[in-house]
Protein backbone atom coordinates (compact mmCIF):
# COMPACT_ATOMS: atom_id res chain seq x y z
CA UNK A 1 0.00 0.00 0.00
CA UNK A 2 1.02 3.60 0.27
CA UNK A 3 4.24 4.47 2.04
CA UNK A 4 2.66 7.20 4.09
CA UNK A 5 -0.06 5.18 5.76
CA UNK A 6 -0.45 1.93 7.57
CA UNK A 7 -3.70 0.10 6.84
CA UNK A 8 -5.50 -0.94 10.03
CA UNK A 9 -8.29 -3.50 9.76
CA UNK A 10 -10.47 -5.06 12.44
CA UNK A 11 -13.20 -7.58 11.70
CA UNK A 12 -16.46 -8.29 13.49
CA UNK A 13 -17.85 -11.67 12.55
CA UNK A 14 -21.35 -12.81 13.45
CA UNK A 15 -21.96 -16.55 13.45
CA UNK A 16 -25.40 -18.12 13.86
CA UNK A 17 -25.30 -21.12 16.17
CA UNK A 18 -26.82 -24.39 15.02
CA UNK A 19 -29.09 -25.03 17.99
CA UNK A 20 -32.50 -26.67 17.68
CA UNK A 21 -34.33 -23.75 19.29
CA UNK A 22 -33.75 -20.00 19.56
CA UNK A 23 -31.58 -18.31 22.19
CA UNK A 24 -34.31 -17.25 24.61
CA UNK A 25 -37.43 -19.16 23.53
CA UNK A 26 -38.45 -22.58 22.23
CA UNK A 27 -39.18 -21.52 18.65
CA UNK A 28 -37.35 -23.65 16.08
CA UNK A 29 -34.09 -22.21 14.75
CA UNK A 30 -34.58 -22.94 11.05
CA UNK A 31 -33.62 -21.16 7.84
CA UNK A 32 -35.84 -20.81 4.79
CA UNK A 33 -39.24 -21.34 6.41
CA UNK A 34 -42.50 -19.60 5.53
CA UNK A 35 -42.50 -16.06 6.96
CA UNK A 36 -43.45 -15.65 10.62
CA UNK A 37 -44.17 -19.32 11.22
CA UNK A 38 -41.52 -19.61 13.95
CA UNK A 39 -42.32 -16.88 16.45
CA UNK A 40 -43.79 -16.62 19.94
CA UNK A 41 -44.48 -13.86 22.47
CA UNK A 42 -40.80 -13.87 23.54
CA UNK A 43 -39.21 -13.38 20.12
CA UNK A 44 -42.05 -11.09 18.96
CA UNK A 45 -41.21 -8.82 21.89
CA UNK A 46 -44.67 -8.99 23.48
CA UNK A 47 -44.96 -7.16 26.80
CA UNK A 48 -44.56 -9.47 29.79
CA UNK A 49 -42.89 -12.32 27.92
CA UNK A 50 -39.73 -13.53 29.65
CA UNK A 51 -36.57 -14.85 27.98
CA UNK A 52 -34.89 -18.05 29.26
CA UNK A 53 -31.36 -18.83 28.11
CA UNK A 54 -30.71 -21.88 25.88
CA UNK A 55 -28.02 -24.03 27.56
CA UNK A 56 -26.79 -25.52 24.29
CA UNK A 57 -26.21 -22.08 22.79
CA UNK A 58 -23.88 -21.36 25.72
CA UNK A 59 -22.15 -24.70 25.14
CA UNK A 60 -21.56 -24.01 21.43
CA UNK A 61 -20.36 -20.47 22.13
CA UNK A 62 -18.01 -21.78 24.80
CA UNK A 63 -16.51 -24.35 22.42
CA UNK A 64 -15.93 -21.61 19.84
CA UNK A 65 -14.19 -19.54 22.49
CA UNK A 66 -12.01 -22.47 23.57
CA UNK A 67 -11.11 -23.33 19.96
CA UNK A 68 -10.01 -19.72 19.44
CA UNK A 69 -7.80 -19.84 22.56
CA UNK A 70 -9.98 -17.39 24.48
CA UNK A 71 -10.30 -17.00 28.21
CA UNK A 72 -13.85 -18.12 29.00
CA UNK A 73 -15.12 -16.10 31.93
CA UNK A 74 -16.76 -17.83 34.85
CA UNK A 75 -19.02 -14.77 35.20
CA UNK A 76 -20.69 -12.99 32.31
CA UNK A 77 -23.95 -11.12 31.96
CA UNK A 78 -26.48 -9.95 29.41
CA UNK A 79 -27.27 -6.37 28.47
CA UNK A 80 -29.80 -4.52 26.38
CA UNK A 81 -28.51 -2.75 23.30
CA UNK A 82 -31.15 -0.23 22.39
CA UNK A 83 -31.97 1.04 18.94
CA UNK A 84 -35.00 1.36 16.73
CA UNK A 85 -35.19 -0.73 13.58
CA UNK A 86 -38.12 -2.62 12.05
CA UNK A 87 -36.36 -5.99 12.32
CA UNK A 88 -35.98 -5.58 16.08
CA UNK A 89 -39.39 -6.04 17.71
CA UNK A 90 -38.37 -5.23 21.30
CA UNK A 91 -36.45 -2.10 20.19
CA UNK A 92 -33.46 -3.63 21.96
CA UNK A 93 -31.22 -6.56 21.28
CA UNK A 94 -30.17 -8.81 24.14
CA UNK A 95 -26.39 -8.91 23.90
CA UNK A 96 -23.38 -8.89 26.22
CA UNK A 97 -21.61 -5.60 26.76
CA UNK A 98 -19.00 -5.06 29.45
CA UNK A 99 -18.75 -8.64 30.73
CA UNK A 100 -18.78 -10.89 27.68
CA UNK A 101 -18.52 -14.68 27.67
CA UNK A 102 -14.91 -14.74 26.50
CA UNK A 103 -11.94 -12.47 25.73
CA UNK A 104 -8.27 -12.57 24.67
CA UNK A 105 -8.26 -15.17 21.92
CA UNK A 106 -6.39 -15.50 18.67
CA UNK A 107 -6.48 -16.79 15.12
CA UNK A 108 -3.18 -17.74 13.51
CA UNK A 109 -3.00 -16.78 9.86
CA UNK A 110 -0.33 -18.20 7.57
CA UNK A 111 1.06 -15.35 5.49
CA UNK A 112 3.84 -15.57 2.94
CA UNK A 113 6.13 -14.16 5.61
CA UNK A 114 5.18 -16.96 8.01
CA UNK A 115 2.50 -17.51 10.63
CA UNK A 116 1.09 -14.51 12.49
CA UNK A 117 -1.37 -14.42 15.39
CA UNK A 118 -4.30 -12.00 15.04
CA UNK A 119 -5.80 -11.19 18.42
CA UNK A 120 -9.46 -11.71 19.25
CA UNK A 121 -10.70 -9.04 21.61
CA UNK A 122 -13.92 -10.76 22.64
CA UNK A 123 -16.62 -13.28 21.87
CA UNK A 124 -20.12 -12.65 23.14
CA UNK A 125 -23.54 -14.22 22.83
CA UNK A 126 -26.48 -12.29 21.44
CA UNK A 127 -29.75 -12.74 19.62
CA UNK A 128 -30.21 -12.20 15.90
CA UNK A 129 -32.71 -9.71 14.49
CA UNK A 130 -35.51 -10.52 12.04
CA UNK A 131 -35.25 -10.25 8.29
CA UNK A 132 -36.37 -7.31 6.17
CA UNK A 133 -37.47 -7.95 2.62
CA UNK A 134 -37.25 -4.66 0.81
CA UNK A 135 -39.95 -3.77 -1.64
CA UNK A 136 -37.90 -2.46 -4.57
CA UNK A 137 -34.47 -3.30 -5.88
CA UNK A 138 -32.12 -1.70 -3.40
CA UNK A 139 -32.41 -0.28 0.08
CA UNK A 140 -32.19 3.22 -1.34
CA UNK A 141 -35.03 2.73 -3.83
CA UNK A 142 -37.25 0.72 -1.49
CA UNK A 143 -40.78 1.96 -1.01
CA UNK A 144 -41.18 -0.10 2.14
CA UNK A 145 -40.20 -3.39 3.73
CA UNK A 146 -41.80 -6.65 4.79
CA UNK A 147 -40.74 -7.99 8.18
CA UNK A 148 -40.23 -11.70 8.82
CA UNK A 149 -39.35 -12.50 12.43
CA UNK A 150 -38.42 -16.18 12.06
CA UNK A 151 -34.77 -15.19 12.54
CA UNK A 152 -35.46 -12.88 15.50
CA UNK A 153 -33.94 -14.50 18.58
CA UNK A 154 -31.70 -16.98 16.75
CA UNK A 155 -28.47 -17.40 18.77
CA UNK A 156 -25.39 -15.60 17.47
CA UNK A 157 -21.85 -15.25 18.60
CA UNK A 158 -20.02 -12.08 17.68
CA UNK A 159 -16.28 -12.52 17.31
CA UNK A 160 -14.43 -9.22 17.46
CA UNK A 161 -10.84 -9.17 16.28
CA UNK A 162 -8.18 -6.74 17.40
CA UNK A 163 -7.39 -4.13 14.73
CA UNK A 164 -4.30 -6.10 13.79
CA UNK A 165 -4.70 -6.86 10.10
CA UNK A 166 -2.82 -4.66 7.68
CA UNK A 167 -4.01 -5.70 4.22
CA UNK A 168 -7.15 -7.00 2.52
CA UNK A 169 -5.27 -10.27 2.01
CA UNK A 170 -4.66 -10.64 5.75
CA UNK A 171 -8.36 -10.02 6.37
CA UNK A 172 -9.19 -12.80 3.91
CA UNK A 173 -6.71 -15.17 5.56
CA UNK A 174 -8.20 -14.39 8.98
CA UNK A 175 -11.75 -15.09 7.78
CA UNK A 176 -10.71 -18.29 6.04
CA UNK A 177 -8.88 -19.66 9.06
CA UNK A 178 -11.66 -18.56 11.41
CA UNK A 179 -14.23 -20.37 9.29
CA UNK A 180 -12.03 -23.47 9.06
CA UNK A 181 -11.63 -23.66 12.85
CA UNK A 182 -15.35 -23.11 13.44
CA UNK A 183 -16.31 -25.65 10.78
CA UNK A 184 -14.62 -28.47 12.74
CA UNK A 185 -16.68 -27.56 15.82
CA UNK A 186 -19.86 -28.07 13.79
CA UNK A 187 -21.60 -25.26 15.64
CA UNK A 188 -22.89 -23.34 12.62
CA UNK A 189 -23.71 -23.71 8.93
CA UNK A 190 -21.24 -20.87 8.27
CA UNK A 191 -22.94 -19.90 5.01
CA UNK A 192 -22.34 -16.28 4.13
CA UNK A 193 -24.90 -16.35 1.32
CA UNK A 194 -27.59 -17.49 3.78
CA UNK A 195 -26.42 -15.07 6.46
CA UNK A 196 -25.35 -17.72 8.97
CA UNK A 197 -21.91 -16.09 8.88
CA UNK A 198 -21.65 -12.31 8.44
CA UNK A 199 -18.75 -9.96 8.48
CA UNK A 200 -18.33 -6.24 9.13
CA UNK A 201 -14.94 -4.70 8.48
CA UNK A 202 -13.49 -1.66 10.24
CA UNK A 203 -10.94 0.09 8.09
CA UNK A 204 -8.74 3.05 8.85
CA UNK A 205 -5.51 4.46 7.51
CA UNK A 206 -2.96 5.47 10.10
CA UNK A 207 -0.57 8.16 8.92
CA UNK A 208 2.90 6.92 9.84
CA UNK A 209 3.49 10.18 11.69
CA UNK A 210 0.42 9.51 13.88
CA UNK A 211 1.31 8.43 17.39
CA UNK A 212 -2.08 8.67 19.07
CA UNK A 213 -4.33 5.78 20.01
CA UNK A 214 -5.85 3.61 17.28
CA UNK A 215 -9.26 4.04 18.87
CA UNK A 216 -9.12 7.75 18.07
CA UNK A 217 -8.48 7.25 14.36
CA UNK A 218 -11.57 7.87 12.24
CA UNK A 219 -12.85 4.43 11.38
CA UNK A 220 -15.11 3.38 8.54
CA UNK A 221 -17.25 0.32 9.07
CA UNK A 222 -18.22 -1.66 5.97
CA UNK A 223 -21.42 -3.59 6.55
CA UNK A 224 -23.60 -6.16 4.80
CA UNK A 225 -20.91 -7.88 2.81
CA UNK A 226 -22.05 -11.29 1.60
CA UNK A 227 -18.86 -13.17 0.72
CA UNK A 228 -15.20 -13.39 1.73
CA UNK A 229 -14.27 -12.14 -1.72
CA UNK A 230 -16.45 -9.07 -1.26
CA UNK A 231 -15.02 -8.36 2.20
CA UNK A 232 -11.63 -8.22 0.51
CA UNK A 233 -12.95 -6.08 -2.37
CA UNK A 234 -14.76 -3.73 0.02
CA UNK A 235 -11.59 -3.21 2.05
CA UNK A 236 -9.51 -2.71 -1.10
CA UNK A 237 -11.88 -0.04 -2.32
CA UNK A 238 -12.08 1.61 1.07
CA UNK A 239 -8.28 1.89 1.33
CA UNK A 240 -8.12 3.61 -2.06
CA UNK A 241 -11.02 5.94 -1.21
CA UNK A 242 -9.60 6.96 2.16
CA UNK A 243 -6.11 7.49 0.80
CA UNK A 244 -7.38 9.75 -1.95
CA UNK A 245 -9.28 11.85 0.58
CA UNK A 246 -6.31 12.04 2.95
CA UNK A 247 -3.96 13.05 0.14
CA UNK A 248 -6.31 15.87 -0.77
CA UNK A 249 -6.21 16.94 2.84
CA UNK A 250 -9.83 15.92 3.47
CA UNK A 251 -10.66 14.51 6.87
CA UNK A 252 -12.08 10.95 7.02
CA UNK A 253 -15.50 10.88 8.62
CA UNK A 254 -16.39 8.09 11.00
CA UNK A 255 -19.28 6.35 9.27
CA UNK A 256 -20.96 3.16 8.23
CA UNK A 257 -20.72 2.23 4.56
CA UNK A 258 -22.38 -0.51 2.54
CA UNK A 259 -20.72 -2.51 -0.22
CA UNK A 260 -22.09 -2.34 -3.75
CA UNK A 261 -21.30 -5.72 -5.29
CA UNK A 262 -21.91 -4.68 -8.90
CA UNK A 263 -19.83 -1.51 -8.74
CA UNK A 264 -17.19 -2.93 -6.37
CA UNK A 265 -17.42 0.24 -4.29
CA UNK A 266 -18.63 1.29 -0.86
CA UNK A 267 -21.36 3.86 -0.27
CA UNK A 268 -22.26 5.92 2.78
CA UNK A 269 -25.11 4.60 4.93
CA UNK A 270 -24.87 6.59 8.13
CA UNK A 271 -22.51 9.43 8.63
CA UNK A 272 -23.50 11.06 11.91
CA UNK A 273 -20.33 10.87 13.94
CA UNK A 274 -21.96 9.99 17.24
CA UNK A 275 -24.85 8.02 15.79
CA UNK A 276 -24.12 4.95 17.90
CA UNK A 277 -25.58 5.65 21.30
CA UNK A 278 -27.01 2.30 22.27
CA UNK A 279 -27.50 3.06 25.98
CA UNK A 280 -26.58 -0.44 27.09
CA UNK A 281 -27.84 -1.46 30.49
CA UNK A 282 -27.98 -4.81 32.32
CA UNK A 283 -30.82 -7.03 31.11
CA UNK A 284 -33.12 -7.27 34.13
CA UNK A 285 -34.96 -10.32 32.75
CA UNK A 286 -31.85 -12.52 32.70
CA UNK A 287 -29.71 -13.38 35.71
CA UNK A 288 -25.94 -13.52 35.15
CA UNK A 289 -24.28 -16.55 33.63
CA UNK A 290 -21.89 -18.41 35.91
CA UNK A 291 -19.89 -21.25 34.36
CA UNK A 292 -18.04 -23.53 36.76
CA UNK A 293 -14.85 -25.50 36.13
CA UNK A 294 -16.67 -28.82 35.77
CA UNK A 295 -18.92 -27.45 33.04
CA UNK A 296 -15.95 -25.94 31.20
CA UNK A 297 -14.05 -29.23 31.44
CA UNK A 298 -17.06 -30.98 30.01
CA UNK A 299 -17.04 -28.62 27.00
CA UNK A 300 -13.31 -29.19 26.51
CA UNK A 301 -13.91 -32.93 26.43
CA UNK A 302 -16.41 -32.50 23.63
CA UNK A 303 -13.98 -30.64 21.37
CA UNK A 304 -12.92 -32.37 18.16
CA UNK A 305 -9.39 -32.27 16.73
CA UNK A 306 -8.74 -28.77 15.43
CA UNK A 307 -7.12 -27.76 12.11
CA UNK A 308 -3.69 -27.01 13.58
CA UNK A 309 -3.48 -30.48 15.12
CA UNK A 310 -4.76 -32.09 11.90
CA UNK A 311 -2.12 -30.27 9.84
CA UNK A 312 0.63 -31.78 11.97
CA UNK A 313 -1.01 -35.18 11.78
CA UNK A 314 -1.31 -35.10 7.97
CA UNK A 315 2.27 -33.95 7.54
CA UNK A 316 3.38 -36.86 9.73
CA UNK A 317 1.38 -39.22 7.52
CA UNK A 318 3.34 -38.07 4.49
CA UNK A 319 0.97 -35.56 2.87
CA UNK A 320 2.85 -32.80 1.04
CA UNK A 321 2.78 -29.39 2.76
CA UNK A 322 0.85 -27.70 -0.07
CA UNK A 323 -1.79 -30.47 0.02
CA UNK A 324 -2.09 -30.42 3.83
CA UNK A 325 -3.59 -26.92 3.75
CA UNK A 326 -6.05 -27.75 1.01
CA UNK A 327 -7.20 -30.94 2.73
CA UNK A 328 -7.70 -29.35 6.15
CA UNK A 329 -9.36 -26.15 4.94
CA UNK A 330 -12.53 -27.97 3.92
CA UNK A 331 -13.77 -30.16 6.75
CA UNK A 332 -15.94 -32.26 4.45
CA UNK A 333 -13.00 -32.83 2.09
CA UNK A 334 -10.84 -33.84 5.04
CA UNK A 335 -13.52 -36.29 6.23
CA UNK A 336 -13.78 -37.77 2.73
CA UNK A 337 -10.00 -38.10 2.51
CA UNK A 338 -9.91 -39.89 5.89
CA UNK A 339 -12.64 -42.26 4.81
CA UNK A 340 -10.88 -43.11 1.54
CA UNK A 341 -7.47 -43.58 3.14
CA UNK A 342 -9.02 -45.88 5.74
CA UNK A 343 -10.01 -48.26 2.91
CA UNK A 344 -7.12 -47.66 0.52
CA UNK A 345 -4.13 -46.47 2.55
CA UNK A 346 -1.92 -45.06 -0.21
CA UNK A 347 -1.88 -41.49 1.13
CA UNK A 348 -0.18 -39.95 -1.90
CA UNK A 349 -2.36 -41.63 -4.52
CA UNK A 350 -5.59 -40.81 -2.66
CA UNK A 351 -4.53 -37.18 -2.20
CA UNK A 352 -3.52 -36.78 -5.83
CA UNK A 353 -6.74 -38.21 -7.19
CA UNK A 354 -8.93 -36.34 -4.73
CA UNK A 355 -7.35 -32.96 -5.35
CA UNK A 356 -7.14 -33.27 -9.13
CA UNK A 357 -9.54 -35.38 -11.21
CA UNK A 358 -12.02 -36.09 -8.44
CA UNK A 359 -12.37 -32.42 -7.41
CA UNK A 360 -12.58 -31.33 -11.04
CA UNK A 361 -15.50 -33.65 -11.85
CA UNK A 362 -17.21 -32.83 -8.55
CA UNK A 363 -16.93 -29.07 -9.10
CA UNK A 364 -18.07 -29.40 -12.70
CA UNK A 365 -21.26 -30.99 -11.42
CA UNK A 366 -21.71 -28.19 -8.90
CA UNK A 367 -21.33 -30.63 -6.00
CA UNK A 368 -19.33 -30.34 -2.77
CA UNK A 369 -17.69 -32.83 -0.43
CA UNK A 370 -20.77 -32.83 1.79
CA UNK A 371 -22.49 -34.73 -0.98
CA UNK A 372 -19.86 -35.32 -3.66
CA UNK A 373 -21.62 -37.77 -5.99
CA UNK A 374 -19.01 -40.56 -5.89
CA UNK A 375 -18.52 -42.23 -2.51
CA UNK A 376 -15.21 -42.77 -0.72
CA UNK A 377 -15.51 -46.60 -0.97
CA UNK A 378 -16.04 -46.28 -4.74
CA UNK A 379 -12.99 -44.04 -5.12
CA UNK A 380 -10.94 -46.47 -3.04
CA UNK A 381 -12.16 -49.34 -5.23
CA UNK A 382 -11.13 -47.45 -8.35
CA UNK A 383 -7.63 -46.86 -7.00
CA UNK A 384 -7.36 -50.56 -6.12
CA UNK A 385 -8.17 -51.40 -9.76
CA UNK A 386 -5.16 -49.35 -10.84
CA UNK A 387 -2.96 -51.10 -8.34
CA UNK A 388 -3.95 -54.62 -9.42
CA UNK A 389 -3.33 -53.74 -13.06
CA UNK A 390 -6.94 -53.94 -14.22
CA UNK A 391 -6.90 -50.27 -15.21
CA UNK A 392 -4.20 -47.95 -16.45
CA UNK A 393 -4.13 -44.46 -14.96
CA UNK A 394 -5.61 -43.12 -18.18
CA UNK A 395 -8.43 -45.68 -18.15
CA UNK A 396 -9.14 -44.95 -14.49
CA UNK A 397 -9.72 -41.30 -15.37
CA UNK A 398 -12.26 -42.34 -17.96
CA UNK A 399 -13.94 -44.66 -15.45
CA UNK A 400 -14.09 -41.90 -12.82
CA UNK A 401 -15.72 -39.52 -15.28
CA UNK A 402 -18.32 -42.17 -16.01
CA UNK A 403 -18.82 -42.86 -12.30
CA UNK A 404 -19.67 -39.17 -11.78
CA UNK A 405 -22.05 -39.27 -14.74
CA UNK A 406 -23.93 -42.41 -13.70
CA UNK A 407 -23.24 -42.93 -9.99
CA UNK A 408 -22.19 -46.52 -10.76
CA UNK A 409 -19.41 -48.41 -8.97
CA UNK A 410 -16.05 -48.69 -10.79
CA UNK A 411 -16.56 -52.45 -11.36
CA UNK A 412 -19.87 -51.80 -13.10
CA UNK A 413 -18.41 -49.02 -15.27
CA UNK A 414 -15.41 -51.16 -16.23
CA UNK A 415 -17.72 -53.93 -17.36
CA UNK A 416 -20.10 -51.63 -19.18
CA UNK A 417 -17.36 -49.83 -21.10
CA UNK A 418 -15.52 -53.10 -21.80
CA UNK A 419 -12.41 -51.56 -20.29
CA UNK A 420 -9.73 -53.31 -18.28
CA UNK A 421 -6.16 -53.92 -19.25
CA UNK A 422 -5.31 -57.18 -20.91
CA UNK A 423 -2.97 -58.67 -18.36
CA UNK A 424 -3.16 -62.15 -19.82
CA UNK A 425 0.45 -62.63 -21.01
CA UNK A 426 -0.37 -65.26 -23.58
CA UNK A 427 -3.08 -63.14 -25.22
CA UNK A 428 -0.69 -60.22 -25.55
CA UNK A 429 2.19 -62.42 -26.61
CA UNK A 430 0.06 -63.61 -29.55
CA UNK A 431 -0.63 -60.05 -30.67
CA UNK A 432 3.03 -59.10 -30.16
CA UNK A 433 4.11 -62.00 -32.35
CA UNK A 434 1.68 -60.94 -35.08
CA UNK A 435 3.03 -57.37 -35.00
CA UNK A 436 6.63 -58.60 -35.12
CA UNK A 437 5.82 -60.84 -38.11
CA UNK A 438 4.10 -58.01 -39.93
CA UNK A 439 6.93 -55.49 -39.50
CA UNK A 440 10.22 -57.20 -40.44
CA UNK A 441 11.88 -53.95 -41.55
CA UNK A 442 11.17 -52.22 -38.25
CA UNK A 443 12.37 -55.24 -36.31
CA UNK A 444 15.57 -55.15 -38.37
CA UNK A 445 16.02 -51.47 -37.54
CA UNK A 446 15.63 -52.25 -33.87
CA UNK A 447 18.10 -55.10 -34.05
CA UNK A 448 20.44 -52.69 -35.84
CA UNK A 449 20.42 -50.48 -32.74
CA UNK A 450 17.51 -48.08 -33.38
CA UNK A 451 15.75 -48.05 -29.99
CA UNK A 452 13.03 -45.79 -31.41
CA UNK A 453 11.87 -48.59 -33.63
CA UNK A 454 10.64 -50.41 -30.55
CA UNK A 455 8.37 -47.51 -29.63
CA UNK A 456 6.70 -47.85 -33.02
CA UNK A 457 6.07 -51.53 -32.37
CA UNK A 458 4.69 -50.80 -28.89
CA UNK A 459 2.34 -48.32 -30.51
CA UNK A 460 1.17 -50.92 -33.00
CA UNK A 461 0.46 -53.42 -30.24
CA UNK A 462 -1.44 -50.82 -28.19
CA UNK A 463 -3.49 -49.98 -31.26
CA UNK A 464 -4.27 -53.66 -31.84
CA UNK A 465 -5.36 -54.06 -28.19
CA UNK A 466 -7.35 -50.79 -28.22
CA UNK A 467 -5.07 -49.45 -25.49
CA UNK A 468 -5.98 -52.14 -23.04
CA UNK A 469 -2.54 -53.69 -22.68
CA UNK A 470 -0.06 -52.48 -20.05
CA UNK A 471 2.69 -50.63 -21.99
CA UNK A 472 5.53 -51.93 -19.82
CA UNK A 473 4.32 -55.50 -20.31
CA UNK A 474 4.10 -54.97 -24.10
CA UNK A 475 7.58 -53.56 -24.08
CA UNK A 476 9.00 -56.56 -22.22
CA UNK A 477 7.15 -59.06 -24.41
CA UNK A 478 8.32 -57.36 -27.61
CA UNK A 479 11.96 -57.66 -26.56
CA UNK A 480 11.35 -61.28 -25.62
CA UNK A 481 9.62 -62.20 -28.89
CA UNK A 482 12.19 -60.39 -31.06
CA UNK A 483 15.05 -62.06 -29.19
CA UNK A 484 13.48 -65.49 -29.75
CA UNK A 485 13.13 -64.71 -33.49
CA UNK A 486 16.78 -64.09 -34.06
Amino acid sequence: MSDNYEVVIGLEVHVELKTASKLFCGCANLFGQDPNTHTCPVCLGMPGALPVLNRDAVALATRAALALSCTVHSFSKFDRKQYFYPDLPKAYQISQYDQPLATHGQVTIRTEAGPRAIGIERIHLEEDAGKLNHIGQRLGDATGSLVDLNRAGVPLIEIVSQPEMHSPEEARLYLTELRTVLSYLDISDLRMEEGSMRCDANVSLRPLSYTGSLADLPRVEIKNVNSFRNVQRGIEHEIIRQRELLEQGIRIVKETRGFDDAAGTTYSQRSKEAANDYRYFPEPDLPPLVLDAVWLEDQKNQMPSLPEELRHQLAAEGVLPRDVDVLVQDRALYGFWRQTVAIYPDVKLVTNWLLSDYSRHMNAKGLSFDNPGVSAPHLAELLALIEDGTLSGKMAKEVLESMFATGESPQVVVKRLGLSQITDHEAIRLIVSQIVEANPAVVADFLGGKEKALAFLVGQVMKATKGQAKPDLVNALLREVIASHV
Binding site: S21, G26, N36, F84, Y85, G144, L286, P287, V290
Partner: protein
Protein backbone atom coordinates in the same frame (compact mmCIF):
# COMPACT_ATOMS: atom_id res chain seq x y z
CA UNK B 1 -28.81 19.51 38.14
CA UNK B 2 -30.17 21.05 34.96
CA UNK B 3 -30.29 19.37 31.57
CA UNK B 4 -29.15 21.48 28.65
CA UNK B 5 -31.35 22.00 25.58
CA UNK B 6 -28.79 19.99 23.58
CA UNK B 7 -29.15 17.04 25.93
CA UNK B 8 -32.94 17.19 25.63
CA UNK B 9 -32.63 17.23 21.84
CA UNK B 10 -30.23 14.29 21.92
CA UNK B 11 -32.56 12.20 24.10
CA UNK B 12 -35.54 13.16 21.94
CA UNK B 13 -33.63 12.14 18.86
CA UNK B 14 -32.73 8.76 20.36
CA UNK B 15 -36.39 8.22 21.26
CA UNK B 16 -37.49 9.29 17.75
CA UNK B 17 -39.51 12.16 19.21
CA UNK B 18 -39.79 15.52 17.49
CA UNK B 19 -39.63 18.43 19.85
CA UNK B 20 -40.47 22.02 18.91
CA UNK B 21 -37.70 24.51 19.75
CA UNK B 22 -40.25 26.38 21.86
CA UNK B 23 -40.77 23.29 24.01
CA UNK B 24 -37.09 22.69 24.76
CA UNK B 25 -36.79 25.03 27.70
CA UNK B 26 -39.82 23.63 29.49
CA UNK B 27 -38.74 20.04 28.83
CA UNK B 28 -35.25 20.69 30.14
CA UNK B 29 -36.87 21.93 33.33
CA UNK B 30 -39.37 19.10 33.84
CA UNK B 31 -36.88 16.36 32.91
CA UNK B 32 -34.35 17.87 35.28
CA UNK B 33 -36.87 17.68 38.11
CA UNK B 34 -37.38 13.95 37.39
CA UNK B 35 -33.63 13.40 37.62
CA UNK B 36 -33.44 15.44 40.81
CA UNK B 37 -36.10 13.20 42.30
CA UNK B 38 -34.04 10.11 41.47
CA UNK B 39 -31.11 11.89 43.10
CA UNK B 40 -32.86 11.18 46.39
CA UNK B 41 -31.32 7.71 46.17
CA UNK B 42 -27.93 9.28 46.76
CA UNK B 43 -29.00 10.07 50.30
CA UNK B 44 -29.05 6.35 51.10
CA UNK B 45 -26.00 4.99 52.88
CA UNK B 46 -24.71 2.26 50.53
CA UNK B 47 -21.30 1.97 52.16
CA UNK B 48 -21.76 -1.70 53.06
CA UNK B 49 -23.58 -2.73 49.83
CA UNK B 50 -21.48 -4.11 46.97
CA UNK B 51 -22.33 -2.95 43.44
CA UNK B 52 -24.47 -5.30 41.37
CA UNK B 53 -26.30 -5.32 38.06
CA UNK B 54 -28.97 -7.68 39.39
CA UNK B 55 -31.43 -7.53 42.23
CA UNK B 56 -32.44 -11.19 42.26
CA UNK B 57 -29.90 -13.52 43.82
CA UNK B 58 -29.99 -16.05 41.02
CA UNK B 59 -27.59 -17.01 38.28
CA UNK B 60 -27.37 -19.38 35.31
CA UNK B 61 -31.05 -19.96 34.83
CA UNK B 62 -31.20 -21.88 31.59
CA UNK B 63 -33.25 -24.45 29.72
CA UNK B 64 -32.65 -27.49 27.53
CA UNK B 65 -32.47 -26.88 23.80
CA UNK B 66 -35.94 -28.20 23.05
CA UNK B 67 -38.29 -26.90 20.37
CA UNK B 68 -41.71 -25.76 21.50
CA UNK B 69 -44.73 -24.84 19.44
CA UNK B 70 -44.67 -21.43 17.80
CA UNK B 71 -47.63 -19.22 16.99
CA UNK B 72 -49.27 -19.46 13.60
CA UNK B 73 -48.21 -16.74 11.16
CA UNK B 74 -51.76 -15.41 11.29
CA UNK B 75 -51.73 -15.08 15.07
CA UNK B 76 -48.18 -13.71 15.11
CA UNK B 77 -49.03 -10.88 12.71
CA UNK B 78 -52.54 -10.06 13.94
CA UNK B 79 -51.43 -6.86 15.67
CA UNK B 80 -49.74 -5.55 12.54
CA UNK B 81 -51.47 -2.49 11.07
CA UNK B 82 -50.69 -3.81 7.61
CA UNK B 83 -49.72 -7.37 6.67
CA UNK B 84 -48.70 -8.63 3.24
CA UNK B 85 -47.71 -12.25 2.51
CA UNK B 86 -47.81 -13.01 6.25
CA UNK B 87 -45.25 -10.25 6.89
CA UNK B 88 -45.51 -6.93 8.69
CA UNK B 89 -45.36 -3.97 6.33
CA UNK B 90 -43.14 -1.12 7.49
CA UNK B 91 -42.44 2.18 5.79
CA UNK B 92 -39.32 2.93 3.77
CA UNK B 93 -36.20 3.06 5.92
CA UNK B 94 -34.42 6.36 5.50
CA UNK B 95 -31.03 6.00 7.14
CA UNK B 96 -30.10 2.43 6.30
CA UNK B 97 -29.57 1.92 10.01
CA UNK B 98 -29.91 -1.25 12.02
CA UNK B 99 -27.24 -2.48 14.35
Amino acid sequence: MLLSKEEVLHVANLARLSVEPSELEEMAGTLSRVLEYIDLLNELDTESVSPTSQVVEQHTVWRSDVIQDSLSAELATQNGPQVVSAMFVVPKILDGGGQ
